[in-house]
Amino acid sequence: MGDLADLTILDAGDGLRAGDFSSADLLEAVTRRASVTEAHLHAYLTLDHEGAAQAAEAADASFAKGEDRGLLQGIPIALKDNMCTRGIETTASSRILDGWKPPYDATVVTRLREAGAVITGKTNLDEFAMGSSTENSAYGPTRNPWNTDKVPGGSSGGSAVTTAVGSAFGSLGSDTGGSVRQPAALTGVVGMKPTYGVVSRYGLIAFASSLDQIGPFSRSVADSVAMLDVISGFDPRDATSINAPVPNFGGSLDRGVAGLKIGVVTEFMGEGIDPQVITATRAMADRLAGAGAEVVEATLPSVEYALSAYYLIAPAECSSNLARFDGIRFGHRTQVEGTTEEMMAHTRAEGFGPEVIRRILLGTYALSAGYYDAFYGQAQKVRTLVRNDFTAAYGHVDVLISPTTPTTAFSVGEKAADPIAMYYSDLCTIPSNLAGDPAISVPIGLDDAGLPVGFQVMAPSLGEEVMYQVAAEVERLAGFTERALLATSTVVAP
């Protein structure tokens, strides 16, 4: 048997229950892995050695007493550093929150703790989740384990990498325009964005509140279900949480795709998408047809405007949400002397990085008197058209499929100077956020450069069960078992 750090959550759970190893052993395995990979990748901002050791010990004590709180008990899990953890530094990768220790846990953190999960630490992200490469972090970039000259995607790049290399068994990210699915695609893991409202946003540092959803990274589709089962469900602390019993997310994992109708999104299979990515996506669509699905073309005519609409809506909401960082109640305060208003303005200019400042300015402009209707108002109407396109498509197909990203991992620095080129890497993921629908990325192979290709399955609102059903078949058909060089136990420094 290989290293424990390479097991899936479900296999690790079987071993825990069989007494083959302990939660402390699993924690030691991921900690040892991190000690090798971190110098090359910088996926973690904070490792909570003490808290994790205590949680592992508690999980082992539970197993010894025959207490079993479910599939995550004793499993080491990493968290994106925009989720509040009581007493553990939470920075959102921003200088403005340097050293901040939240006085409370986010609901997802509470749920993980109650399920007996072991929280390893906090992972790197693009500052306040704004970015697609994890280069916009005040604490330095995260690298891609398949090739350290490449970005891991973002904004949840740190979380994606921990799961990809085995410095955690799974991890949580947040997805506002693709920030879970895009880095999952670029690092060869499974990444999922739930239906808006399925997972509580309480304690998630807000970026764009009508788009943000927390979702899991995992090394298998079944692991993704196990994680979503724990973190989902109504939360009275989040007014946008859906107050209804959660669906049976994993109920159809083994059913295959026979009899399902699957639509290939025409708009994401042509211009602007790398030919190798299109070829791999088309090949998988054909294999789904071979497995008994009816595969048809589907069109979302308004999605070509989705990116533009998103880059008005998300900055507008961010400019409002980030007003709270004013140097008064938490985080950084400037040393510049002046009035309170001057203090705020200097604190914010010192504390925020360039991409965050750019989006705050853009959002402030788009919401300002005289421009509101032309920009924000019009973007909201485009959002309606995108939703209508999805509704129409789901009138005749069960799920939609597409590439997750237009290209495989791009080079560090390649798009850093061109914000719009960076924004284009979320082309295929943004529409699901605008619609509020669930979507998942599953790795299906490697391109000529040896970089992973992600395959996206989208489903209607609360359609996680059929989404996972198709994703599981994609996983079986792809048989993607390759691991990044930096995920192997015998790591050679690049």
Binding site: K101, P103, Y196, G197, S210, P236, T240, S241, S302, Y305, S308, Y311, L312, A323, G327, I328, R329, F330, G331, H332, R333, E337, G338, T339, T340, E341, E342, M343, M344, A345, H346, R348, A349, F352, I357, R358, L361, L362, T364, Y365, S368, A374, F375, G377, Q378, A379, Q380, K381, V382, R383, T384, L385, R387, D418, P419, I420, A421, L434, G436, S461
Partner: protein, 107 residues
């Protein structure tokens, strides 16, 4: 890169009307003249792209502000524990007598 140079070219032809200093003031961001110039140019670039949304006919289309049909979320009016003030005051930059302290309000 051809595409982005074309894009820069079209911006000069289609100036977007931005008073960037005013926007920065509204956003409470104390930026230098050089920063204002840089962000102003980048915003022009992004907004030129965003103007595409205006080319889509949306007459009679209702705006979507949120993916869910939002209704007021009520809870039972019962007392519950809240955070101990010390737990968050200890994280504030400046505190006096159990309250957040700020610099003078008037210039």
């Amino acid at each position: 890169m051809d595409e982005s140079s074309t894009r820069v070219g079209t911006i000069a032809a289609m100036p977007v009307d931005i008073d960037i200093a005013k926007v920065a003031r509204l956003a409470r961001l104390a930026l230098s003249d050089e920063e204002l110039e840089m962000y102003g140019a980048q915003l022009g670039d992004i907004l030129e792209h965003a103007e595409r949304v205006q080319s889509l006919p949306t007459e009679g289309v209702a705006p979507t502000s949120h993916p869910l049909p939002m209704v007021n979320a009520f809870r039972e009016d019962v007392a519950r524990e809240s955070l101990e003030p010390a737990s968050f005051l200890s994280e504030a930059p400046d505190v006096k007598d159990g309250q957040f302290r700020v610099p003078r309000i008037l210039g």
